[in-house]
C-alpha cells in the first residue's frame, strides 16, 4: 500500500557558527529534556531552501512573498505586460487582495506568497467576467469554480504547495502546506561561546595611538543538529492541482537533497560553516513522526570527543525502538557517509537515497 507521508530525519554537524538569531542578536535556543539546545527555526530553514541555488535550478521560480501591494502591482504589470493591460492587472489585484484602489503605499493585511502564473490565470478569468458583464458576486463564483485550473497554474511555484498560504481577504485561495518543517535543534546540550571582537582603525594605528574603531561581541557555537520534516504526498498532489504521485515523489527527492545540503546564510561570511549532512534516514509512513526523542537525554560526546557518531547511533537505535514498539508499518532507507547498517537499506551516496525515494521506496 502506498504511504501518505515521507519523514525526513537528517543529522548535520556545524563548525562554529551562528545560523539563526533573535532580537538580542543571540542564538535562538530551545529547552529539551531540561537542557538548553541551540535552535535553527523552521522559518529560517524553509527560507534558506526556498532561496537556494538548488531550488532555483530544480524547482524553478519561487513565489513573491510580500504585503506591499503597490510595489507588487508594478512588478506584476511588468511581468505580464505582453499578456494583459495595466488596468486589468490593477482590477484583478484589487479583487484578489480585497483592497480597493491600490496606491503606491497600499499594504495587504499580511505577507502572502504570490504566484505570477496563478495571477495571470486570475486576470484571464476577470477579463472573461468583465466581457460577460458579471457583477462582483458572480465573478467570485466564476473564480471559485475554476479553483483547479488556478491551482495548476500555481503549481509552477512549488514553495506555495509545500509551505502553504493563508489568504486573509479577497479572491486569493488558501493553501494547506504539504510540508511540515520542525525547528532543528542540537542533539546535545550547548554552552555557547562569546566572540569578543574589535575593528582596528588603520589611521588611528598609523598615528601610533591606541584604541579600536569598534568593539562588540557575537555569540556562536558548534553542534550536531537534528533536522526533521514531513511531507504529506496526497496533500502535495492536491496542492499542485491534481499532480501524479511521481511528481510528488520527485519534489520529495529534491526536498531530501535540500534537507541534507542547504544551510542558512546568517553570519556565514564570518563563520563559513558550510557543512553537509553525514546522515539521512527517510521513511515512507502512515504518520508524520519526528525522532527528536532519540536526543531527549542530551547526547554525551564520545570518549575521544565528537557528537556525530553517538548521535547517529542514538537516532538509529531509537528508530528501531519506536518502529518495533509501535508496530509501525513503513519503508525506510538510510544515506550514511561511512558504515553500512545491517537492518535497513543503506546507501553511501545521497543521489542513491534520492532515487530510492523517487521509486516510492520500492528499489
Amino acid at each position: 500500500m502506498s504511504k501518505n507521508f515521507v519523514n525526513f530525519h537528517v543529522l548535520i554537524s556545524h563548525s562554529p557558527s551562528c545560523l539563526n538569531r533573535d532580537d538580542m542578536n543571540m542564538q535562538k535556543s530551545a529547552v529539551f529534556g531540561g537542557a538548553r539546545r541551540v535552535r535553527v527555526s523552521s522559518q529560517s530553514l524553509k527560507r534558506a531552501m526556498r532561496t537556494s541555488d538548488y531550488y532555483q535550478q530544480y524547482l524553478g521560480e519561487r513565489s513573491i512573498r510580500t504585503r506591499e501591494l503597490g510595489r507588487l502591482q508594478g512588478s506584476l504589470e511588468r511581468a505580464l505586460h505582453e499578456r494583459f493591460d495595466a488596468k486589468l492587472v490593477e482590477r484583478t489585484l484589487s479583487l484578489v487582495s480585497g483592497k480597493e484602489g491600490i496606491a503606491a503605499d497600499t499594504r495587504a493585511d499580511a505577507v502572502a506568497p504570490w504566484s505570477v502564473e496563478e495571477f495571470a490565470k486570475l486576470c484571464e478569468l476577470v477579463k472573461r467576467a468583465d466581457a460577460e458583464g458579471l457583477d462582483s458576486k458572480k465573478t467570485e463564483k466564476l473564480v471559485a469554480n475554476e479553483a483547479l485550473v488556478i491551482k495548476q497554474a500555481m503549481a509552477r511555484n512549488v514553495d506555495i504547495a509545500l509551505s502553504g498560504r493563508m489568504a486573509t481577504s479577497g479572491l486569493m485561495g488558501s493553501v494547506d502546506g504539504a510540508m511540515a518543517m520542525a525547528h532543528s535543534i542540537t542533539t546535545h546540550a550547548v554552552d555557547t561561546d562569546i566572540d569578543w571582537f574589535t575593528a582596528v582603525d588603520d589611521l588611528i594605528a598609523d598615528a601610533g595611538e591606541v584604541g579600536a574603531g569598534h568593539l562588540d561581541t557575537q555569540e556562536f557555537s558548534s553542534g550536531v543538529f537534528y533536522r526533521y520534516a514531513s511531507l504529506n504526498l496526497p496533500q502535495l498532489q492536491l496542492n499542485l492541482g491534481g499532480a501524479g504521485r511521481e511528481r510528488a515523489l520527485e519534489i520529495a527527492a529534491h526536498l531530501l537533497h535540500m534537507m541534507a545540503t542547504v544551510v542558512p546564510t546568517a553570519k556565514q561570511q564570518s563563520f563559513a560553516a558550510h557543512n553537509l549532512a553525514d546522515f539521512a534516514l527517510v521513511t515512507l509512513a502512515d504518520q508524520p513522526i519526528s525522532l527528536a526523542n532519540a536526543f531527549e537525554a542530551p547526547v554525551k560526546a564520545a570518549r575521544e570527543g565528537g557528537y556525530l557518531a553517538p548521535s547517529i547511533s542514538k537516532l538509529t537505535e531509537y528508530w528501531q525502538g519506536i518502529h518495533q514498539g509501535y508496530g509501525l508499518d513503513e519503508y525506510a532507507a538510510v544515506f550514511q557517509l561511512r558504515e553500512q547498517l545491517d537492518e535497513v537499506k543503506t546507501f553511501n551516496k545521497l543521489p542513491q537515497l534520492e532515487a530510492w525515494l523517487l521509486a516510492d521506496g520500492q528499489v
Binding site: 529539551f32 514531513s230 502512515d286 527528536a292
Partner: protein
C-alpha cells in the same frame, strides 16, 4: 461506564494559541479545545473551510487533558522530571524579493510562544448522539489524512498520537489508568460536563467556525492533586 480514546501529545515544541494582540502570539499552558478539534479534523481529513462538519465535530467531543512534565528514569531508576519551559521565538518576515528594485525598510515582526518539554495525555469520548465513533477517530489518528501537528505546523509529533482505549466511569478515572505512574496526580483540565466537581477556569477557546476566527467561552474543570496549575 464509557469508552475513552487516549492520545499522547509529545513533541520538542508545542504551541496552543491564545489570544493574540500586536503580533504577540502566546500559548496556553495546555491544548485548547480549538487546537484539539483542529488536530482531529486534520487526521479525519475535514477541510478547514467545512464549517458545518467542524461544528459537528466540536459539538460531539468531550475532552480531558492531563498536563505532564517530561519524565525520564536515570541509570539507577530514579525518575527525573524536566519543568515545562515557555520560550518566545522572535519571528521575522522579510520581503522575499525586491519587488521594484528596493526592499521593504523593516521586516514584519511577530513573537511566538512555544512550550518546551511539555507532554499531554488526552482522554476523549463522543457525547451522546455523536456522529463520530471512537473507532473512526482511532483509525484516523493512526492514518491521518492531513498532517497532524502540536498547535503549529512546525511542532512535529515525537511519537504516534494513539495510546489506547480505556473503559471508565469518567475522564479522570480514565486518565488515572494511563501511565506513566508519576503523572497520575498531574493536573487535569476537563470539559465541565466530564463528571467531577472542582474549581472552574473560564477559557475562551471554543471555536465558532465560519469566516472569521471567533471563540466562545468554555468552562474548564481543574482537577488532580498536582501543583502544576498556575491560577490566573
Amino acid at each position: 461506564m464509557a469508552d475513552y480514546l487516549i492520545l499522547k501529545l509529545d513533541g520538542v515544541m508545542q504551541s496552543w494559541g491564545d489570544h493574540t494582540y500586536e503580533d504577540f502570539r502566546p500559548t496556553v499552558g495546555f491544548p485548547t479545545r480549538s487546537g484539539l478539534v483542529g488536530l482531529l479534523a486534520a487526521c479525519l481529513g475535514i477541510d478547514r473551510s467545512a464549517s458545518d462538519e467542524l461544528t459537528v465535530l466540536n459539538r460531539d467531543l468531550e475532552f480531558a487533558v492531563r498536563a505532564e512534565a517530561r519524565r525520564r528514569a536515570d541509570a539507577v531508576g530514579v525518575v527525573h522530571s524536566a519543568p515545562v519551559v515557555r520560550i518566545t521565538d522572535f519571528h521575522t518576515v522579510m520581503d522575499a524579493r525586491k519587488v521594484d528594485g528596493s526592499s521593504r525598510e523593516f521586516p514584519v515582526v511577530s513573537k511566538r510562544q512555544y512550550l518546551c518539554d511539555a507532554v499531554f495525555t488526552v482522554a476523549l469520548r463522543p457525547r451522546h448522539g455523536s456522529t463520530w465513533s471512537l473507532d473512526q477517530i482511532e483509525a484516523a489518528v493512526k492514518r491521518p489524512v492531513y498532517t497532524p501537528s502540536l498547535g503549529r505546523r512546525a511542532c512535529a509529533l515525537s511519537r504516534p498520537l494513539f495510546e489506547g482505549r480505556v473503559e471508565a466511569a469518567d475522564a479522570l478515572i480514565a486518565l488515572a489508568q494511563v501511565g506513566p505512574e508519576e503523572a497520575i496526580g498531574d493536573v487535569v483540565y476537563a470539559d465541565a460536563d466530564a463528571g467531577s466537581a472542582g474549581p472552574i477556569l473560564r477559557l475562551r477557546d471554543d471555536p465558532i467556525f465560519g469566516r472569521r476566527r471567533q471563540f466562545a467561552n468554555r468552562p474548564v474543570l481543574v482537577l488532580g492533586t498536582g501543583s502544576g496549575h498556575v491560577s490566573e
